[in-house]
Symmetry: C2
Subunit: 293 residues, 2 copies
């Protein structure tokens, strides 16, 4: 059955019927707005989008399209050391889209929402004249008002990345797992001066962190943790790793590395270099630029 | 200058430089997430999108495209009786887009944000393979926890609409003013049982309010306030009026109508009918369906 045979109200009613909602949600999808209880003094806000032909191919499994759409924003909440709370989904599709395809997108959205205890509280469904467009906003909170921005990095801080880098095009760019628990643990246990998630590749993202912190950086390229079959160039430039990059003062090294091994034994943590005084940083290539030709 | 000549970081830096931010905003655009102080116990959340070729034509003034994109979500916050607070903007454009065009979209976004005291705290800019896609999320708050959903309407409630209906295609669909102050006044002064904003036309939206409230409705079609040159059919079906539709108990009539004239002398308020016991409602035609052929 296609969407234009079902009609907008029936499509929305069916898609939103089984969305996860906890007791904080006073009003979910179906009204003009969602109404939720706030938690804590500070709120994190992030929206992001994925587009057919740019962030996924038309023949990608729609379940993983939905997963990726919400996990990109969850990953940004994680990158602050926050806990994701509520999500809004905006979806534009062609009217001749099969409803089964759309239901599978929602299955992916909901699977991720359940994994990360996120409420899908609303959004909007619209007609696209061409490519599928899927935008997700996620709100979050930070425990005790502690969060990690990109801009607090200091000279001599050690740089770490979680997991391995490169080669996400093989499928990890759809099926990645945002590092929510890991980032929260880091922010709560250590003086994380700066943190971000790696979405455009270390070669784009590390200079952004350094610029925001007004420092330079040095990376020991031989230490970069690469996925199997990946070159150094892949690890620096491929993008969509969704791993954490963070900076901590050198005194945290021993406790961080030992604590990490105990707490997250299955996920690698690698020291890759350090922040240095401002000046000409090491050139590590160019990552992904959304507007580059 | 085109976006692909400037590059993503330069584009984002220039667009976000002069965004309105008040003291609640700890961290605005440029980091992984925005960080804002919460206000009140309850939060309103809404996202919506506009797409080239569906919600605006390619030759529309980009300032009004930006205005419309943010005002659609502000209008939904208004429809709950809420106050809008923060906005996230997600924008997908072709890489060969002229930067001057994009700057004018942001001028419209910012003009609306200033008018309604909304902080533009972040978002995402991405490459579109085709049409321009602009999605805006707006958060809001409600004073004293009082908000108006669609579902509280009761038998015998009187139905009112603000302003006039129909003919928005002549330009009002881009340049409308969300009824924020009016809705807040209504919710604070009167027992508003149900409220929504008219985005798909009274013929679509009133049945939605009635269904959500599990009641029927009767409209006196002769009373419908129509824009000049509009037929009854235009008033019922055109959509994009962004006026308020609300239901109050009959006892509120006199005080509401007198209070409105004093408080909002320039904006018409019209009683158009009432809610009735559930059963076959009056047929008032079909409004806009996003997926209809």
């Amino acid at each position: 059955m296609k969407l234009d045979e079902l009609g907008e109200d029936a499509v929305v009613a069916q898609l939103t019927r089984s969305l996860r909602l906890d007791s904080r949600v006073r009003l979910g999808a179906g009204d003009d707005c969602a109404v939720v209880e706030t938690t804590g003094d500070l709120q994190l806000l992030k929206s992001d989008c994925i587009i057919e032909g740019i962030h996924f191919l038309p023949d990608a499994d729609p379940k993983w399209i939905g997963w990726k759409a919400i996990c990109r924003s969850i990953s940004d909440i994680a990158a602050m050391g926050g806990t994701p709370l509520d999500a809004l989904v905006t979806l534009a599709v062609r009217p001749d889209t099969e409803f089964t395809w759309l239901k599978r997108v929602y299955l992916g959205l909901q699977t991720a929402a359940k994994s990360y205890a996120v409420n899908v509280v609303g959004g909007e469904t619209a007609k696209s004249p061409g490519p599928v467009f899927l935008s997700v906003t996620v709100t979050g909170t930070v425990a005790g008002g502690r969060y990690a921005s990109r801009s607090g990095g200091q000279k001599d801080d050690l740089l770490y990345v979680t997991g391995k880098l490169g080669g996400s095009i093989a499928g990890r760019h759809l099926r990645f797992r945002p590092r929510v628990a890991e980032a929260r643990w880091l922010v709560q246990q250590f003086p994380v001066h700066a943190m971000m998630d790696l979405s455009d590749g270390l070669a784009s993202d590390l200079p952004r962190l350094a610029r925001a912190s007004r420092v330079g950086f040095e990376v020991d390229l031989a230490t970069l943790p690469l996925h199997q079959g990946c070159s150094l160039e892949n690890g620096l430039q491929d993008g969509e790793d969704y791993e954490l990059l963070f900076a901590v003062p050198p005194g945290a090294k021993r406790k961080l590395e030992a604590g990490w091994r105990t707490t997250f034994p299955k996920l690698r943590l690698t020291g890759i270099g350090r922040l240095v005084e401002n000046g000409p940083s090491q050139f590590i290539g160019k990552g992904y630029d959304h507007f580059a030709r």
